[in-house]
Amino acid sequence: MSNIYSAIKISDHVYWVGAIDWTIRDFHGYTTPRGSTYNAYLIMADKITLIDTVKAPFKDEMLSRISSVVDPSKIKYIISNHSEMDHSGCLPEVIDMIKPEKVFASAIGVKTLKELFHNEHEIIPVADGERLSLGNMELTFMETRMIHWPDSMFSYLAKDELLFSQDAFGMHLASLERFTDEIPQATLEYEAATYYANIVLPYSAVVLKALDKVSATGWKINIIAPDHGTVWRKDLGKILELYSKWAGQKPTVKAVVVYATMWHSTEKMAGAISEALAGEGIKVRLLSMNETHRSEVVYEVLNAGALIVGSSTLNNNILPQMADVMTYLKGLKPANLIGAAFGSYGWSGESVRHLEEMLKEMKVEIAAPSVSTKHVPDTAVLAKCQELGKTIAASLLKRINDTR
């Protein structure tokens, strides 16, 4: 059978040899409407080196792409920058098949790979700042713990001025184009932001430190090769600037109103709040959890200054769709938000109190009194909702002014 898969050259000595997953739509709870890629890279040095591997079912695609450049058994070193299974799933099989001289990972990566695969393969730990000679060129490693797993590290190839950044600067985007400059700008920024919001956001403080750490090395970087999506070879300042902005989490004049409704009462309240916010000059995203995916919500929250949440009371609780998104948001730790809660109920009305408690746990500053109503909101209740919107707007505008 002829080989339908080819490697793509991304620099003088490096080829992309990853796999394209056109059909994946759910990445552990993060929806990926454009699919993804699992990127592996081949360095054609004296010691031919493979950087990361791919998700287990895509092993043959990766090996086919490698074969279009070199016989895979010629690979001497494998580096695992990130142990998560979308980048290591086929590692044990690949080691058995090509029998490389050595396999390297960070110290925590070594432990993690052992915990994942429970096999006897020897993985050699490399330290932060350690260099590895590939003969005619060398790699330098940098630990990037918690971007976004404890084992994560970058590898830098000075010869090609290329940074292998594992999941950082990546995006879930299946494409036959291999470079970001071949993708429409709007798609790129949306997918990079969604990826940041859904994967990297909780570790924003670590991201800021890592950006400083990279710039302190003095490495000349012309190409950033992440583990998902396309390779950055132009305008690198742009993605670094965006990471710095997203990690900074400065509030903007934007409020996200998220709600779930049973009989449209909570929905009417959400509408009144949103209209009032907009009337005060706030950009509003109104999202019903009956229709919206949690990934979309965190994307919208990424650059927001206020988060206002509403739910009907169902069986003394919040609606399950709201519990879903609140759990997801709490884990992703968006920072510097103000907020409030609202909702309708039939007899007991616990939902608003529960939502307010959840906001507090998320360190969202409650900036307006909550509004709850029995059954359908009347004019007086809707006026209270408008008041809530106005109060939040004033508080947000003041905050933004104060941080200028």
Binding site: E143, R145, M146, P150, Y203, A205, V206
Partner: protein, 52 residues
Amino acid sequence: MTKYVCGVCGYVYDPDKGDDDGGIPAGTSFEKLPDDWACPVCGASKDEFSPE
């Protein structure tokens, strides 16, 4: 007072600074942290920490 390092993510607990997000005031020694205190970066428990 001794600083403690998280064995998972490398975060350093500095008693002189405390942990604002976790509601721990400056001047709290590592030993005085509540048992359910967790690393503010990765969520690891207290027993993952060792003296710097």
